[in-house]
């Protein structure tokens, strides 16, 4: 049975503020990884039912590259970092220093690079989030899935047995002087984890 969570405005503001700081730190991590200055446009922060995740990234049939990590510790859940295929292509080209062979072709090195970047950025988000919530949040080793957004969500909900009813979305656009890479960062807390998060923030209604 799904937990029903209705966030009040103060809770939403708190999560948005933390989301902004998380994304800023992730941009710093991205800059260090790419060894160039990366700026981040102000992210869109949303709290939405998981079934609306595919629509939030452009529709269920949108081809995406997803980096998936499980969150272990005090507030278990799943982290999903989604890149539209074209943005993943740009990211892979920047990281590997190679010219793309085609929009939809990702070599082993491309996939490894995207997975590593996703892992580093996710760890940055999670570390910042853990700092504010004072929770122990430990990321697993990352996995990569290339599929349509709808199928990707099915994978997460079924294969990873993710039980979250809601997702916190931090939409980010990382930009340097020449190129930009859009990424959608989702935190999908397991039932109970959201209340644990809000409680540590002193924002629980319970």
């Amino acid at each position: 049975m799904k937990e029903r969570i209705v966030l009040n405005e103060r809770q939403k503001d708190t999560l948005k503020e933390i989301g902004n700081i998380c994304a800023g730190n992730a941009a710093t991590a991205f800059s260090q990884l790419l060894d160039r200055t990366i700026n981040m446009n102000v992210p869109r922060v949303h709290f939405l039912p998981v079934e609306q995740v595919p629509d939030a990234v452009g529709g269920a049939s949108q081809l995406m590259v997803g980096v998936v990590l499980q969150v272990l510790g005090d507030a278990p859940g799943v982290i999903l970092l989604l890149f539209p295929q074209a943005d993943a292509r740009v990211l892979a080209d920047i990281l590997t220093g190679h010219k793309s062979r085609g929009k939809g072709i990702f070599t082993e090195m491309d996939q490894s690079a995207i997975k590593e970047a996703g892992s580093i950025v996710s760890a940055s988000y999670l570390t910042t989030f853990a700092h504010f919530t004072r929770l122990s949040l430990i990321p697993s080793t990352p996995g990569i899935v290339i599929d349509m957004a709808g199928a990707l969500m099915d994978y997460i909900l079924i294969e990873l047995a993710a039980a979250s009813a809601y997702a916190l979305l931090l939409d980010s656009e990382f930009v340097d002087a020449k190129k930009s890479v859009r990424g959608h960062f989702f935190l999908l807390p397991n039932p109970g984890s959201f209340q644990a998060i809000l409680k540590t923030l002193g924002e629980s209604d319970g």
């Binding site: 260090q32 590593e116 940055s124």
Partner: protein
């Protein structure tokens, strides 16, 4: 030729990145390993002077990154191992250092950080 290095990471991209950084500084990358078990086997075979070891890797034959550190140090107490961790892995880093690793760098890193740490470990 510089010191012989074994680069251990489950991500081929990260192995290449670390290998390239060290090669530019004159180190000789004598091998790469993609898991803890592979690292233990290649350490015994290649006898590197420095190992860079990813701290979080999938277990193979029940050996992960820290497990590999323990086995290598047990067989060669003078082994020089530099851990490579991501943010938020402080507890694992402490465990690795207590197990015999000499130092660590945190991803994402700038190339100079890796070079400085490698030098520190080799001189230590």
């Amino acid at each position: 030729m510089g010191a012989k290095v074994l680069v251990v990471d489950d991500a081929v991209f990260m192995r290449k990145m670390i290998g390239d950084i060290l090669k530019k500084e004159g180190y000789e990358v004598v091998g790469e390993a993609e898991n803890g078990k592979d690292a233990v086997d290649k350490y015994a075979a290649l006898k590197p002077e420095l190992v860079t070891m990813d701290i979080v890797m999938p277990k193979v034959d029940d050996i992960d990154g820290i497990g590999a550190v323990k086995i290598i140090i047990n067989s060669d107490p003078n082994a020089k191992i530099l851990m490579v961790s991501a943010m938020g892995q402080h507890a694992l880093v402490v465990e690795a250092i207590q197990s015999g690793a000499k130092d660590f760098v945190t991803k994402p890193f700038q190339p100079s950080r890796v070079v400085e740490a490698a030098k520190r470990v080799l001189e230590g």
